[in-house]
Symmetry: C2
Subunit: 174 residues, 2 copies
Amino acid sequence: MIEIAVLRIGHRPERDQRVTTHVGLAARALGAQGMYLAAEDKGVLESIRDVADRWGGDFFIQDRVSWKRCIRDWKQSGGVVVHLTMYGERVQDREQDIRLHDRILIVVGAEKVPGEIFGLADYNIAISGQPHSEISSLAVFLDHLLQGTELNAEFPQAKIRVIPSPAMKRTEQE
Amino acid sequence: MIEIAVLRIGHRPERDQRVTTHVGLAARALGAQGMYLAAEDKGVLESIRDVADRWGGDFFIQDRVSWKRCIRDWKQSGGVVVHLTMYGERVQDREQDIRLHDRILIVVGAEKVPGEIFGLADYNIAISGQPHSEISSLAVFLDHLLQGTELNAEFPQAKIRVIPSPAMKRTEQE
């Protein structure tokens, strides 16, 4: 199985709490195994762990990570690093290449990212060359990488589960 | 050409400003023609119009919309309404049907949405039955609906344009 983690950089505690929480939840829902956070933010950790605890699976989140060390360690252990940026190559041109790798670290920045990251990443990839959101970029990238298979994933040990329905909220709880 | 607009409901001014701005920017970047906002928020309008003005295309945004009237008008003029919700049918099971329509209003809620919306929508659609983000849900839905073609879109009359690059920021400006 392909191993995927997200590294969130440029997070500013307080101001970015909600967006970073959405990044982590999208990562979990769409096939990543965990998120490294290059900052300290207990609120983000608690929100994501709370969801993971109730909704199943074994998504990990680790904060206070040095982003440079995280990237270096990932590459040293044979993984590749994909930095999502509107300035990068078009995802539709590179996704087939990237899919050949089996350990992928996806770096997701906030508004400003250190320029160094462009050189440290193996791939700089754009989900359109338009400004939008790190959350939407990550979501489309994961869905392309996994070719939609992530939408069929099961989350074991869930305490609550949705039963898909055309017109109402249906869940089952343990 | 398929006509797509987004209706953002449940927006709370201040608190949701950043997330709603991301919803609008993702809508624009990934193939929608405009966004209706069922609230008043000048900050959101300004941010999105500023991007649209610099980066091209003719994305519209309209605030102070009554969501019920917006849905009713859309349906009366022959369009279909797709509500994105984790409780809905699986996108992978319904996207082919939805693609047969040529006017689609995508309803995107915040944390709480009025229960009525489930009955008013023609489709309630889940991008995985897991909690994540309205931004990631909208992005994956648009990409599935348009089958990736939105990533090749041009934005006419742009004042600034990215030149895709493997390792640096390159833009051209008028």
